[in-house]
Assembly symmetry: C2
C-alpha cells in the first residue's frame, strides 16, 4: 500500500504505513528518496564535524542539515555559487535541508536588533554589519541550491511571557508570508510553527501557516531550555494536527527517546547535534544504552564499542583503542566515535520505521526507555 | 638485476639499482615488502594524526614509525599485548618500526636523570617514576611486536662540547651492546650512530656499531637544531661508510630536499613529522612547491590543492573548500591536508626511486631545489 499524499514540482511525499499517529513515508526531492521518520545529521558549515561525505554514506546518512546563516558569513554565498551549490562544494550527493538562520540569529542574544524588516547584527567573524530578512534568507538558501528551505522566523528564549511570545509569533507569521512570496525558485519550503509553550498561540500559528500552504511543517522554538514534559506536550498537541499529507519536522531534538515519542506523535523529520557533539565528548550510543568512553572500565576492553553494531568503528577497532586515542587527543578518536553515533542514529530511525510497519512501536519505545532514560546534552 | 645483500631470519634486504652512492632496494620483513628509499610516516601513539589505516593505504603508506617510549606510558604495554601487538591494536597490516625512546627521553630535558644503567624520569601523565634501560626498551619493543627495533641510545643537545659528546657517544655504545644482547626475539635491530657534529666521534661510533653487527644502521642526533650544512656534512661523511648490504636510515629528517640529498648520499630510510604536522598548520606540499592554505589567494580557488596530484583530497575537494573548513576549525580540513601531504611524500619517494633507476637523480634534485628551497618546520 502506498498513498501519494503530496506532489508538487520536484517533491513527492508518499505515506506507506500508519500506526496510530505514527507513519512511515518516502520523501523524494530532485529524484533523491529518503525514508521517514528520518534523522538529519548536522553539517552546519558544509561538513559534518570530523566526517567526510564517504563516511556519511557508510553510516547510511541520506540527508543532512546545513545552515544558510553560517554559510552566508563563511565562506559566503559567492564561493558556493561558483561551484553551482552546496552539494558540489562539499561533494555531497544526498539531500540537504537548510535552516534559515532564525535560530542562529536568536543565539546571538543581545547583539541583534530585530524589527519588522528583519534582524540586524554584526558578523562575529569580521564585525561587518549584516542584515537578515525573510527575502535574504530565501535568496541565500536558493543560491546554496538546497533541497528543502525553511522560512525565516524569530526564536525567543524560554521562558517568555505570553505577550512577548504572541508578538514574536505574529512577527514570525508575517515573515513566513514574506518567505513564501520570496520563494521564486519554487523549491520545497517548510513553515515553522511558533508560539512558545502557550497552546492557544501554537494553535493560531499552526492554523495561519496551514492556510499559507507550505510544503511541509516544522515545530520550532523547542529544545530551548524548557522541561521535557513541556516539550512533549507541545509536540503531542500539535504534530498530529499538522497536515497529514505533508512532512512534519520537529527542529533541534534529540535524544533517542525524545525522537521516539515524537515519532509516536506523528513526526517525520528530526535534526540535532547530539549524536555528533556527544561523540566528540566521548558519549556513545549503544544497543545497551550510553557508554562514556572516559570511564575507566573501558581501559582494557578489547571488544568494540557495541558488539551488535555494524559501523566502521565497531567492525574495525576496539573501545580500548579508541579510548587510548581519545586520551592522547588524537583526532581519529573523535571521528570514529562520530561515525559510531551517526550510524546508531540512522539505525535507530530504521528500527522506528520497522516498528511502525510491524505495529510494535510501543514495545520498541519500552526497550529504548530501558536504555536511554538518562541521556543528557553533553 | 637483484642482489640479495642481507638475509637474516625474517628479514631480507635486496639492492636493485645503484647510482653513485644512491640505491634502490626492497626490504622484506615478515613477508611484507617495501621499496627503499622509503619514508616512514609518524604514528607515535598508534595512529597517524588525523588518519586511520585505510587512509594510510590510500596514500600508499607501507611502513610507519611508532614509539616504544610513548606507548609504554600510554596506553601501556599490557593492553597492546592483549591484542597480540601494535598491528592488531591499531589495525595496521603494514610494517612498523619503533623508536626506542632515546630521543623522547632527551626531549624531557632536565627532568631526566641519566646514569650508566639507563634513564630515570617521572611520567608526564601520572607522575610515576619510570626507568628506561636498553633492556626495558628492547623488551617493550618486543612486546609491541614491532617489525624493526631501534637500540636505546642517548641523544644530546646541539651544540655540545666534544668531551660531553664523547662521553655520551660512549654511553650510547655501551647501551647499544646491551640492546643487542637483550634482543631475545631476534627481531631486526638497528644500531644508531651518534657523535654529534664531530667527525672523529661519528667515525668511532660508526666503527664500533659495525663491529657489533646490527641489521641496519641509523644516523641519530641530527635535526636537533644544527645548521643544514652541518647536518649535510654528517650525512655525506657517514652514510656511504655504513655497510652497503644493510638498510641505512637517517632519523628525524625531513624536508623534501634534505631527503633527496640524503638519498644521494646513500640513505634508504627516513621519518619525520613534517608532512603530518605541517599539514595541520596548513602548509601543503605540491608539484609546484609549498602552498599555505591560509593565504588569501586560495579563498576563491575552485581547483584542487594540486592539479597533478591523485590523492583523495585532490581528486574530491577544492582548495577553497578545504580552506573554508580550516577557517571554521573543522577537523576534516586537517585530515584532508594530512592525506595530501602524506600522499605527496610517498610520491616523492617513488620519484626518487625512479630517478635512481633512470640515473637522473641530479636532474630530479634540481627540480626539487626550484620548488622546495624554502621549506621550514612549521
Amino acid at each position: 500500500m502506498e498513498i501519494v499524499c503530496y506532489l508538487r514540482f520536484n517533491m513527492q511525499f508518499s505515506i506507506q504505513n500508519i500506526h496510530n499517529y505514527a507513519r512511515t513515508a518516502s520523501l523524494t526531492i530532485n529524484d533523491k528518496t529518503i525514508s521517514t521518520p528520518s534523522f538529519m545529521t548536522i553539517g552546519t558549515y558544509g561538513a559534518v564535524k570530523t566526517m567526510d561525505c564517504s563516511d556519511l554514506k557508510k553510516c547510511n546518512v541520506d540527508i543532512i542539515l546545513s545552515n544558510a546563516f553560517h554559510l552566508m558569513l563563511r565562506p559566503g554565498i559567492d564561493l558556493i555559487q561558483k561551484f553551482g551549490g552546496l552539494h558540489q562544494f562539499m561533494k555531497w550527493d544526498g539531500l540537504i535541508l537548510t535552516d534559515s538562520g532564525g535560530y542562529q540569529v536568536f543565539s546571538l542574544g543581545k547583539d541583534v536588533k530585530i524589527n519588522n524588516e528583519g534582524a540586524e547584527f554584526r558578523s562575529p567573524f569580521n564585525g561587518d554589519k549584516v542584515l537578515m530578512t525573510p527575502e535574504i534568507s530565501i535568496d541565500v538558501q536558493t543560491q546554496i541550491n538546497t533541497d528543502i528551505m525553511m522560512i525565516f522566523d524569530e526564536c525567543i528564549k524560554y521562558p517568555s511571557d505570553i505577550s512577548t511570545t504572541e508578538k514574536s509569533m505574529e512577527l514570525s507569521l508575517r515573515w513566513a508570508e514574506r518567505s513564501k512570496k520570496a520563494n521564486y525558485s519554487a523549491k520545497p519550503l517548510f513553515g515553522i510553527v511558533q508560539g512558545g509553550m502557550y497552546p492557544e498561540l501554537r494553535e493560531r500559528s499552526r492554523q495561519a501557516l496551514i492556510d499559507m500552504e507550505f510544503d511541509g511543517y516544522a515545530l520550532g522554538g523547542l529544545s530551548v531550555g524548557e522541561p521535557s514534559d513541556v516539550m512533549y506536550e507541545v509536540i503531542n498537541e500539535n504534530a498530529h494536527k499538522l497536515p497529514t499529507d505533508k512532512p512534519r519536522y520537529v527542529m533541534g531534538i534529540g535524544k533517542p527517546l525524545d525522537i521516539a515519542y515524537a515519532v509516536r506523535a506523528g513526526v517525520d523529520m528530526f535534526d540535532c547535534v547530539i549524536p555528533t557533539r556527544n561523540a566528540r565528548n566521548g558519549q556513545l550510543f549503544t544497543s545497551s544504552g550510553i557508554k562514556r568512553i572516559r570511564n575507566a572500565q573501558y581501559s582494557n576492553d578489547i571488544g568494540p564499542i557495541d558488539n551488535e553494531c555494524e559501523c566502521y568503528a565497531c567492525k574495525n577497532f576496539s573501545i580500548s583503542y579508541i579510548k587510548h586515542l581519545d586520551r592522547c587527543n588524537e583526532i581519529l578518536a573523535a571521528r570514529l566515535m562520530t561515525i559510531h553515533n551517526v550510524y546508531f542514529y540512522q539505525n535507530l530511525m530504521m528500527q522506528l520505521r520497522n516498528a511502525i510497519i510491524s505495529s510494535s512501536l510501543d514495545d520498541y519505545i519500552a526497550q529504548l526507555e530501558r536504555n536511554f532514560r538518562e541521556v543528557k546534552n553533553d
